[in-house]
Amino acid sequence: MSRNIVVLVGTQFFKKTFSTKGFLILLGVFIMVLCYVSINSWNAYKTRHHAIKEHQVKARESWENNPDKHPHRMAHFGTFVFRQQHPLSIFDSGIESYTGNAIFLEAHRQNTANFSEASLQTGLVRFGDFSIALLLQLILPLIIFFIGYAAISEEKEKSILKISYLQGAEMKEILLGKTVGLFLISSLFFIPSFLALWGISYLENQTTYNEIIIRTLCITVSYLLFFMILCGITVVVSAQSKNSSKALLSLLGIWLLFFIIIPKMAQTVGNYWYPNLSKIEFKAAVEAEVSKKGDSHDSNDPYFKQLRDSVLKVHKVKDVKELPFNYGGFIMSKGEAQTAEIYKKQYEKLIESYRNQNSITQNLVVFNPFLAVKKISMSLAGTDFDTYVNFLDQTEQYRYKQSQQMNALQMKFISNKAKGSEGKTHVVDKTYWKSFPDFTYQYIPIFQILSKNLLSVISLLFWMLVIILVITRFSNRFKII
């Protein structure tokens, strides 16, 4: 294979497309839209970021400003966690709009994360979210198809291909050259998009998001692979087709099928096969198991009665009032540990059913590079399912720690004579509130994200390999006339 010919064909395609009338308009419109969406998403992110930070500080202040209090009052005063977005969500908003933003963490109860963006939006929310990733995942592929559909078929129709062949250009050189040319043309579209991406990453390069550069790099590489695959597919389809309009139709069909219909169907079928419990069923399941183990609120519950007797025996006293620690706090800590464990078990089952619902889409990444790049992009932008579940897990851990800390304070400082949590007599010093650390979310480490997306990465590489093989090894299958 001669490199000169490849370069020649490539540059020729580039020049020809570049000078097509309308091309600069298309490019101009694309870049304008890109600028608009980047600036708009950036502003939206900043507004939300500040709002969330401000409210988080406000909520924390009101926690710290509590006077001396009974610790159980504090356990119910609880903590609000407002979900921070990863800065890369400006680039790819993923499931961001559909995930809850505020969660209230208190004793005994696992509350849902509420106030998702979508729950406060009008019916237009169903059309989807607008982000740079949408441009790169849906729109740019279509542009590549539009630009490249005639790459080979037109030359066939105009009998240029024959002449090139006679002059010594091999089919694979032409195919490769066109692919390179198309890739160069599409780089005029995606390089500005990457500039926007790297801009975000540069400006938000703080310690909280310390892996943002690596994340950005991985996103860039996967999109590059994705576009290479698309250019290859375009050229191969163009070479396969009898004429240009057939080539265009096939490519549009591919776009519709792979980018719109299959993703939607996959999730629909997943939901259909693996329905999940509704909240009422979920709660019923948790409650059923709790009452099987014993209800700490029930003074006659056999499990807790037995527990009481054994505690009394160990401390050699007759009544819980004589114990050296607050018995109410002790019982609550036992109850909390028990319900939290039961809840966790049920919750894991629920998440498992969600994962099953997503599994069809997940497995289809092998056949659909669009799904592969979408998944990688979302994961790295911190706007995917795993990140959200991880967030919920961390809030639950925090909730548990908070409740148990308050129970421990109650056991230590509250007298057994206390009748209730009201008033100023049975209280704990307020310095304890401040000393309990605030919630901070830790993002999933990059290594873990990549290993979870291994299938998608392999899929992109596999498709790349297939395209290269088709172009170099099977080029003689393509007809020249």
């Binding site: 608009y36 708009n40 939206a44 849902t112 998702s116 939006q121 009008t122 059309f127 607008f130």
Partner: protein
Amino acid sequence: MYLLLIKQFFRSKTVLLAFGILMLLGVLSIGTGKQFLNQQERTITKTVEQHNKHLETQLRLHKDDLGLLMYYFKFSFINSLQPLAGIAIGQSDINSHIQNVTILNLEGQKYDTDLVNPLRLQVGNLDISFLIIFLFPLIIIALNFNVLSEEEEKGTWKMISIQGKTPFFFLLKKLSIRVFFVFVALALLFLFAKIVLHIPFTIGFINFIAVSYVYLIFWFSVCFFVVLLRKSSSINAIILLTMWLVLVVFLPVVINQYIVTKYPIANAFSMTIKQRDEYHKRWDTDKQETMDKFYKHYPQFSKYDVKKEGFSWLWYYAMQQMGDDESRLEREALYAKIKSRENLSRKWAQFFPPLQIQLSMNEIAQVSLSHHLKFLEATTQFHEGVRLDFYPKIFENQKATSVTWEQFKPSFYKASTTFKIVKILPVLLLIGILVGASIFIKTRTF
């Protein structure tokens, strides 16, 4: 003549493929709707079932202390969806339509969501409304883009021009066949849906059908207009697909993002913090102050007194009430923002049929945001009713056995529709303009 044209129409692989995909997705979409409705029904049955169990347990545990019982006892308020929600799920999967609330501070409870896979929400539902808004236009484009250009490219158009008196009518005939079969396909889907989802023939269903057909006519007139421009098949395909992309994919997301950024809703967070703080701080503030505020809200309860020292349920519920009462400003600000979002959406939607149709369908099926807000308001009223029932009973230290519990079965919310068919007038106007423009072009190109 028609018979031959119909035969020719079904010879094409594209046509068979288009209708094949349509019917497959149609079946899938009805299945989705069915499953959605079934799940709703199951949840409602479960709620009723759970209610009785819950009542039994709570009565057993706290029968001597009504105040404590009411601390735990949950009342169910259900927004049962109508069957039309099966063809337009809208936002009813995002917002929970079953409320389980105690008589405590309501603002801390009523925004609780149901359990739904967020990825599922993001991908959206493949219901009939999606099929109509997204897929039917594509089918219409695929069937029509080369209706004239193909004949020109194959050279058959010249023969038609020579043989027929009016080639334009020939074109109209070809077009009418496409209109007919697409309409039949949609009618079939509606028929299946009606049977499978048990949709009654109400004015809502008829409106829904009317709106859908108007939308299809809109896309036919778009195609008609482009076809008459007499460009090549490829150019037509590109023009039409770009129009689809802009109208159905691109503009809606841009407009939605614009609306969302124009009215950011941080008020929800302020409100939720406020309702907690206003209740909790009462544990440490002057009792009488709390009670004065409570008596001001409910003068009828000022006859009940609170002891200076110690705990009492009257004081406790007065504190809880403060969470709701004192966060009113924040709540109103939040609702005002949501209303602004709604108004702006409606304003923009007038100019773009896909948006208009989406909002109309949601309204007809009663699954829009405004319906959810109404449900939330109704929840507040329901909650207030229960409160007023139980407050005096608790304050008078009545026994739990003195309450007629049958009265407090799960209640159902009755939604009402606000949709008026005139709302699709702008779409009809657009169709008129397109057809007019096509006729104008026709005089020049034929």
